[in-house]
Symmetry: C2
């Protein structure tokens, strides 16, 4: 069987310089609008952003022979050099990306190449290897770490390898609960194809509506239902990858001791070794019911201890997340209850879906209550579920209002959680203070492990000067603070180019040597996503 998305409507293109559906933006809730000057002082609104058709780009650096070789693989119509195609595949969706896109001149790839099959991907990579053209694999374009920047490295040109045409369900084994999806399949399309068989993948990161299955794998994504279904890594049972020098097709069995699990070396490889073309994933029956509940705790520390009890003692919710006092206050403001703004206490949400949900809920509720939490009914949890993918729209509205807004995340052990949170919060606040800006830092826990948890930070700042330069300095300070305080430089946003400076501290110099050795073997010309994960190697004599 193979049901592709050939007949499906391709999702509308995202706003080229913002998030999501061009018609789908949301304004700032009035209460938030009222709150911002109190928190951050008054900031100037930026000038109007350029229109797409007014953007200037440099001419393509690909030669006629390069273009002919690429067209020889995918056909003339799938090698695109027009400005709009190139602008639309010119990077991801971090706040710096969006700020850069307010300029009238854009750095763009020299062409967008759109293969339709694994074989075409492999053939494009061979052309790139032979002609020494850099290749940036491009899925949903939702990277927030510079993972899809049009970086030619030391080469003469760079193509964006757009995987949108690799969309569809290749195979389904309903008995074993395994599905093979093409890498370019977007989140909603994957769920639509599976739902036709009564099945669900259950991976819902905030980027879900646009991000691709291959991107989830390449960047080691983790979704909002990770408590129930695990991070994306753990859903993957097999991978197919094309590299400039050969293919990989891994994952012969659900469990194996046949040497190191190389699937885990491709997960997180971020296009630096090759292009993931197919992902085999574990799926489960579409849950029928959903039980949501909201909770309040006297403070974040009490809440974090409750979450630890839940995960260590097996409460097994599908979703569980805890907002600190600041995020709790702003969330209340968002739904208009300005009177409760910055109310004391930390709020949590639990969701239960699937088998034995009522028992799991009861047990989790008991653990939470024993640990000091109080149920506040369903309202706030339903509001969270309704708006769970809308965060990036809010950021657009904040940026339009001149307010700097960015997120970052890390993870550590339970014992180290509060030390790390304090260090990151200080680095953010002090960093902005040193730049003369007021800031507001919120934090939540949304991914639990028996041994620890993630910490997700959102920072708003009233920057009067150059937002990009200010953030660059703050971000460096925060990354250093994470490393010094025992966290990981990223829990689920990946390394890309933005975090590469910290990877040597994360995995050590010997770890970097391993990554370089693998890259040299698979991609000896260094054409794959230059400067992602590891800086380009100097040219050998």
């Amino acid at each position: 069987m193979r049901s592709t998305s050939d007949t499906a409507v391709e999702p509308p293109e995202m706003r080229w310089n913002g998030w999501g559906d061009p018609d789908g933006g949301i304004g700032l809730p009035r209460a938030v609008r009222a709150l911002l000057p109190l928190l951050l002082g008054r900031v100037p609104r930026p000038g109007p952003a350029p229109q797409l058709d007014a953007v200037e780009v440099a001419p393509s650096c690909l030669s006629g022979a390069d273009l002919a070789a690429l067209a020889g693989v995918v056909g003339d119509s799938e090698v695109r050099t027009d400005a709009e195609s190139r602008v639309r595949r010119s990077g991801g969706r971090s706040t710096p990306d969006l700020l850069h896109r307010r300029a009238s001149r854009q750095q763009v790839p020299d062409a967008v190449v759109r293969p339709a099959t694994h074989a075409e991907v492999a053939a494009v990579l061979r052309v790139a290897h032979e002609r020494v053209i850099a290749v940036v694999p491009f899925g949903g374009g939702t990277s927030v770490v510079g993972g899809v920047d049009p970086d030619a490295g030391r080469h003469h040109a760079v193509i964006a390898l757009d995987l949108a045409r690799l969309s569809g369900l290749v195979r389904l084994d309903a008995v074993s609960g395994e599905a093979v999806l093409l890498a370019g399949t977007r989140g909603p399309e994957a769920e639509r194809l599976l739902a036709e068989h009564g099945l669900e993948l259950g991976h819902y990161p905030q980027s879900f509506r646009y991000a691709s299955i291959g991107g989830f794998a390449a960047a080691r994504s983790s979704g909002q239902n990770s408590a129930g279904y695990g991070r994306f890594d753990t859903m993957v049972t097999g991978l197919r990858m094309a590299t400039p020098t050969g293919d990989l097709d891994l994952g012969r069995a659900p469990g194996s001791a046949a040497g190191p699990d190389l699937t885990r070396l491709l997960l997180g490889s971020e296009g630096a070794f090759g292009v993931i073309t197919e992902v085999r994933v574990r799926v489960h029956p579409t849950p029928r019911d959903r039980i949501v509940e909201s909770w309040t705790f006297p403070d974040f520390t009490t809440g974090a201890n409750a979450l630890r009890e839940v995960v260590q003692r097996g409460g097994t919710p599908t979703v569980i997340r805890l907002s600190d006092e600041a995020e709790t206050g702003v969330s209340l403001a968002q739904v208009g209850r300005i009177g409760k703004v910055l109310a004391k206490g930390a709020s949590a949400v639990t969701v239960f879906e699937g088998e034995d949900a009522e028992h799991r809920r009861a047990r989790t509720a008991e653990l939470i209550a024993t640990a000091g939490g109080t149920s506040t009914g369903q309202g706030a949890a339903e509001e969270w579920a309704r708006t769970r993918f809308d965060g990036p729209y809010l950021r657009d509205a904040l940026l339009d209002a001149g307010v700097f807004c960015e997120t970052l995340e890390t993870a550590t052990t339970w014992a180290n959680l509060h030390r790390l949170r304090a260090a990151v919060t200080s680095a953010l606040k002090d960093g902005f203070t040193d730049a003369g800006a007021r800031s507001f830092v919120m934090c939540h826990i949304s991914h639990l492990y028996p041994t620890g948890a993630s910490l997700y930070f959102t920072v708003l700042a009233g920057v009067r000067g150059d937002q990009l330069r200010t953030w660059d300095a703050v971000k460096r300070r925060v990354g250093d603070a994470i490393m010094a305080s025992g966290g990981t430089i990223t829990h689920h946003h990946a390394i890309g180019r933005d975090h590469a400076a910290w990877l040597p501290q994360e995995i050590g110099e010997t770890g970097i040597r391993i990554l370089r050795a693998v890259k040299r073997e698979l991609d000896p010309q260094g054409v794959m996503n230059p400067n992602v994960l590891i800086p380009e190697e100097p040219l050998r004599e």
Copy 2:
């Protein structure tokens, strides 16, 4: 904190040419003894095995300078060249290993070197790298795949790097549920050290009493409680490794997207890249209660479907295993109920420990009953629990009686399980038939995943000719059948030297190139466990 095992009594040395405690062997149950001639025909008993002090070994090939350099690291007394030390570190415990040990002349390492710390391991590897001496890391010596053979490869000498002195608990974080154990710590010692803090690791492979924590990691072990606590891979949250050219210290956070998870590249590396010296593992409170139950199914297929329901619908037992009709019959014989020998039906065992055990038991019982299983009380399950580590003793008794006995294992998806089982069974039976031997094949499932399960085979055969040569041909046939039928060449016994021929089919030629590239980078002289995972590379000019 650091509690080492320095003051603990080292476990008694295993029988040099058999399993376990020299005084701990068990005889064949009378019913089995009666059954064997019926199943396999009469076979000659082998001659008496040689005594350890009668074994001949070649002189050590290490030069005086080699020995001095090694002694310079660990001290004179920890570089051992006497025959007994060398014979005792001369390989693992596969049936071929034990048959080889019936010869009067043994292949042995040129010395046994016993470092006490990570730093000493690293220094020994540097000496080995500089002097080009092969190194076989030696933990519990329980490999059944040739993983610790004294193989010098193309080098002039080989040392067994005995890790017994690296025993102890380095750090414990009870809040996060993480412990760091030295790699040479044996299973029972690890559990003893954790139990002092009310904690348990919960990894109980059949080799538990002798195998080491580092060996579990290096070989990607899976234990009998894997349904509850996961295979060993999933317990590991961090690793420290010394290689000939640098150290690795991985696992900064419980979850991360900081590039590929290199911890997973070291798990399963089987000493081919370096030596694991410390393992950070997830631990949990020692369970107070244990609920055991036995089940019967009309046949293996019904039982397998029941197990699939349990794992896919979240019954979450701590142990669940299903024996096919043949294994069920022999198990009954072992406990003396000869009348029921080869009774129809397949039997299963469930064990529940830890949090919410009574509910998990009730839910699992309901799923099993609905799928066609019938509870048979606790007796058989208790018998299984009592004798769960005794299988290897039985094999010794069979070999002493002239009966060939070996095990092998694989795994696949639920949809492919019966095809794979039939293919392996045929390959075993036909292989022995072609050698003129009668055989008896038993199978069980003992490790479940949502998408599939393991298959563990035990074969008994009445071989009249050369057992080693006969098995070599049968094993090749079985390995080829596993590959042709979509299984993995090993679910939890590792690759070692015995399975290396199939690894190119398992991970593809590009996968082999990755392993070679990593090995070349970390171990450019190729001194680490030569010919494990991948055959030695030809010498470069």
